[in-house]
C-alpha cells in the first residue's frame, strides 16, 4: 500500500482527531541556557485550537515540526494564561534542534494536551516539595505557578533543583525570586561547580537535609533523570513521606500520545495515558527493574 497523496482527491475537511497537529504561530524564542530555549506560541487558530492551551500542570503536548518530526514536550507555562502556549526545550536531537531554531512568525504543529497532571487538588492544605533535575524543572513550573497564584491553598513550598553545572541552571532568575517569597525555600545544587561557584555541589538528594516541612503533611513532585528520581523517592520515604504523597513524571519514547503506537509502554502502563505523572505507589515497583 502506498501512502502519500500530495494532491487531495476528495474534498473532505481536514481531520481534527487527536492525531492531527494544528498549526500554532510562534511568538518568541527565548534562550534559557546554552542548549535550552523557551518557545511561546499563540494557540492554534483552527477550530478546537483553543483547547491546546487549556492544560493542567504536568501535562504535555506533541510538537510537530513540518517535514522534520514530532516529539512529546512538557508544557512549562502558566495554566492560567490560556492566551499563550509555553514550552521549554533542550536541543538534543534533530527535531528539538529544528524547533528551537524556528523564527517568530513560523508555525509549529501542536496536539494535546495529553497525560495525567500533578496532584494539585489533593495537595491542597499541604506543603509541596518540588524536586527537579535538569530540564525536569520545565513540567514542574506550571505547578509552581499554580501554587503561587493560589498561595493560601498550600502550606510551605520547597523547591530543590539540581543541574549539571552552573551554566545549565534553568529559570535561574525565577528560582532565586521564588526563594525570597514567604514560606518558600528554593535551593540549587550542581554536579560540577567550577572555581567561581559558591553554592551547593552534589546530587539533589544532598539538599534534603535542608527541607523545612513536615514529611507527613508534604506532597513531593519529582521530575528529572530516572536515576535521580529513583534515589529521591527512596530517600523521601526514609524521611517519612508516604508513598501516596510522592509523585513523579516519567519520560518514554512516544509516537502518538494516544495509546496507539505502543512505544511508551512500561510494564502494564502506557506512559502517555496512564502517566506521565504517576504516584510512587503505582510506579515504584517498575523503577528498580533494569530495562523494563
Amino acid at each position: 500500500m502506498t501512502t502519500h497523496q500530495s494532491t487531495p482527491v476528495s474534498p473532505v475537511p481536514a481531520s481534527s482527531g487527536p492525531m492531527t497537529p494544528l498549526p500554532a504561530r510562534l511568538i518568541s524564542v527565548e534562550k534559557e541556557t546554552h542548549d535550552t530555549y523557551t518557545l511561546t506560541l499563540e494557540p492554534p487558530s483552527a477550530p478546537g485550537g483553543e483547547l491546546a492551551s487549556r492544560f493542567r500542570p504536568g501535562q504535555f503536548s506533541m510538537l510537530y515540526d513540518y517535514g522534520v518530526g514530532e516529539l512529546p514536550i512538557s508544557i512549562s507555562g502558566d495554566p492560567e494564561r490560556p492566551e499563550q502556549l509555553v514550552y521549554t526545550i533542550r536541543s538534543v536531537g534533530p527535531v528539538t534542534t529544528s524547533l528551537v531554531t524556528r523564527a517568530p512568525g513560523d508555525a509549529i504543529g501542536v496536539r494535546g494536551p495529553f497525560g495525567t497532571p500533578w496532584p494539585m487538588t489533593e495537595a491542597r492544605g499541604k506543603s509541596v516539595l518540588i524536586v527537579a533535575g535538569g530540564i525536569g524543572l520545565a513540567p514542574l513550573r506550571p505547578a509552581i505557578y499554580h501554587i503561587l497564584r493560589h498561595r493560601g491553598d498550600y502550606n510551605r513550598l520547597v523547591i530543590l533543583y539540581g543541574a549539571r553545572s552552573p551554566r545549565d541552571i534553568l529559570f535561574k532568575k525565577e528560582l532565586s525570586a521564588w526563594g525570597l517569597l514567604p514560606d518558600t525555600q528554593s535551593l540549587i545544587t550542581v554536579d560540577y561547580g567550577g572555581v567561581s561557584w559558591r553554592g551547593h555541589v552534589g546530587v539533589v538528594t544532598t539538599l534534603f537535609k535542608s527541607i523545612r516541612a513536615q514529611p507527613a503533611e508534604t506532597y513531593a513532585l519529582l521530575c528529572g533523570p530516572e536515576v535521580m528520581m529513583r534515589f529521591a523517592l527512596r530517600e523521601l520515604q526514609i524521611r517519612g513521606l508516604p508513598k501516596n504523597q510522592i509523585f513523579l513524571s516519567m519520560e518514554r519514547n512516544m509516537k502518538c500520545a494516544a495509546g496507539f503506537c505502543g512505544h511508551c509502554q512500561l510494564g502494564p502502563f502506557f506512559v502517555c495515558k496512564d502517566g506521565p505523572v504517576f504516584s510512587c505507589a503505582a510506579i515504584e515497583p517498575w523503577m528498580d527493574l533494569y530495562e523494563a
Partner: protein, 384 residues
C-alpha cells in the same frame, strides 16, 4: 441466536459470496498463494483452498495435500486480518508548507485507501476463531478510548465477519488454553463449521448478528438437523482435544513479576535474532512508528504510520539512548506484554494462541515453552 442453525451445501457457499458482493462488500478469503495460504479477493468458492492442510512446528510451515474435501484445515495463515484493518502503512497527516508556516490539507476520509473516496467495506470469509479473537483485542486498543483511532474504526465498523470454526488444529495451535478457539465465541456475523464426512463438505451455519441472520435467510439454506449439528460440534471439540501446547495465561502477571530476572531470558536472548517476525505475524501486535515524508521541493509533506516492533533497538529511544538495549529485555517486553501486561491494560491476554509466532520464528522459539519455563510448571509448553 445460537438456537438457529442452518446447513449449507456447496451451492449455498457460492451464494454467500455473491450475496455479500451484491451488498457492496469487498469479499476476501483465504487462498493458496505459492507456499502459503494468504488472504485475497474472493469471487467464488472454488478459489478457496481444497484438500489443503498445513504442517507447523517451531520455525516450520508447510502446506500439505490432504485426501478429504476440507477447505479450512490449514490453521491460521501467516497473514492475519490486521493487514486489512490495521494496515501496514498509512498516511494520516497531509500538510503543505506555507512560508515558514504550514497548513493541514484535506486527506481521504478516515479509513479510505490513498485516492479512495470511502473506507472499504470488507467481508472476511473463512477467518479463524483466533483471528476473530485478535480483532476483539485490536478493538480494545483502538476503539475503547480515551481516544478512538479513526482509520481502524472506519474499516472495522463496516467489516462483515464470517468465521469458520476449526475442526483441525495445527501442532502449534494453543487457542483452547487461551480460550479463543477452536470454536468462536462472540463477535461474528456468521459462524460456520465444516462437516467433512461427506463430499463435497457441508457447513453448519450459525448467526451471531441480525445481519448474519439476514444473510443466511437471503441464501435460503435449510435448517440443520440435530445429528448434523452434533457431529460438527464434536469435530470442533476434537480439534481442542488434540492441542498439546497450553499457556496458563491467568498466572502470567504474577509469573512476570517474580521472573523478571529469571536466567531463562538470557538463554532465550542468545537464540533470538530480534528479527521481529513474531510481532509481524502476531495478529494483535499493533505497535507503529511514524515517518515523515516531504515532496522533493518541500512544498507538501505528511506523516505516515508504519508497523513497528518492540524488538527494534530504536523502539524505546529517548535522548541519550534506548531504554531496552539488550535483546533479553526486548524479548521480555514482547512475551510480558502478550501474556501478562495486556491483561492489566485491556482485561484479556494479548495472545490468542494462534501459534503464528512459533511457526514463523526462524530460531524456533516457542512462547508456550518459554512461559512454562518461566512459570516453572513443566518441561515445556508441550509437556503433558
Amino acid at each position: 441466536m445460537r438456537d438457529k442453525a442452518w446447513r449449507l451445501g456447496p451451492e449455498h457457499f457460492g451464494r454467500l459470496i455473491s450475496v455479500l458482493a451484491e451488498q457492496g462488500y469487498e469479499v476476501l478469503g483465504p487462498q493458496v498463494d505459492g507456499p502459503a495460504v494468504r488472504w485475497g479477493p474472493l469471487t467464488g468458492p472454488d478459489e478457496l483452498p481444497q484438500g489443503i492442510g498445513a504442517e507447523t512446528s517451531p520455525g516450520h510451515y508447510r502446506l500439505k495435500q490432504r485426501s478429504g474435501p476440507e477447505r479450512f484445515a490449514w490453521g491460521p495463515s501467516p497473514d492475519s486480518l490486521k493487514r486489512w484493518l490495521h494496515v501496514p502503512e498509512e498516511c494520516f497527516v497531509h500538510a503543505a508548507q506555507d512560508n515558514g508556516a504550514f497548513h493541514i490539507l484535506p486527506g481521504e476520509q478516515p479509513g479510505a485507501p490513498p485516492g479512495g473516496a470511502a473506507p472499504p467495506k470488507f467481508a472476511f470469509i473463512g477467518m479463524r476463531p483466533c483471528d476473530l479473537a485478535a480483532l476483539v483485542r485490536l478493538d480494545a486498543v483502538f476503539l475503547k478510548g480515551p481516544y478512538v483511532e479513526e482509520h481502524y474504526s472506519a474499516r472495522r465498523r463496516e467489516a462483515f465477519l464470517v468465521v469458520v470454526n476449526c475442526t483441525a488444529s495445527l501442532d502449534t495451535c494453543f487457542c483452547a488454553s487461551m480460550e479463543c478457539g477452536p470454536g468462536a465465541r462472540t463477535g461474528y456475523d456468521v459462524a460456520l463449521t465444516e462437516h467433512t464426512a461427506e463430499e463435497p463438505a457441508a457447513y453448519l451455519a450459525e448467526a451471531g448478528s441480525a445481519r448474519g441472520v439476514a444473510l443466511i435467510e437471503a441464501i435460503t439454506a435449510p435448517r440443520a438437523e440435530p445429528g448434523f449439528i452434533a457431529e460438527c460440534r464434536e469435530a470442533c471439540k476434537q480439534a481442542a482435544a488434540v492441542q498439546r501446547r497450553r499457556v496458563d495465561w491467568r498466572t502470567a502477571p504474577a509469573v512476570m513479576l517474580r521472573s523478571f530476572e529469571h536466567p531463562r531470558w538470557e538463554q532465550t536472548a542468545r537464540r533470538c535474532l530480534a528479527c521481529g517476525n513474531c510481532t509481524l505475524t502476531c495478529p494483535t501486535c499493533f505497535c507503529v512508528n511514524t515517518i515523515e515524508h516531504t515532496a522533493i521541493d518541500g512544498s507538501t509533506g505528511g506523516r505516515s504510520r508504519v508497523w513497528d516492533s518492540c524488538f527494534t533497538q530504536n523502539f524505546t529511544y529517548i535522548h541519550g539512548g534506548s531504554v531496552r538495549t539488550s535483546v533479553k529485555s526486548r524479548y521480555r517486553q514482547w512475551l510480558g506484554h502478550k501474556l501478562a501486561w495486556w491483561q492489566q491494560q485491556f482485561g484479556t491476554a494479548g495472545c490468542t494462541g494462534c501459534g503464528r509466532c512459533i511457526a514463523w520464528c526462524p530460531a524456533g522459539i516457542d512462547i508456550s515453552e518459554e512461559f512454562a519455563a518461566l512459570a516453572g510448571t513443566a518441561q515445556g509448553g508441550t509437556g503433558a
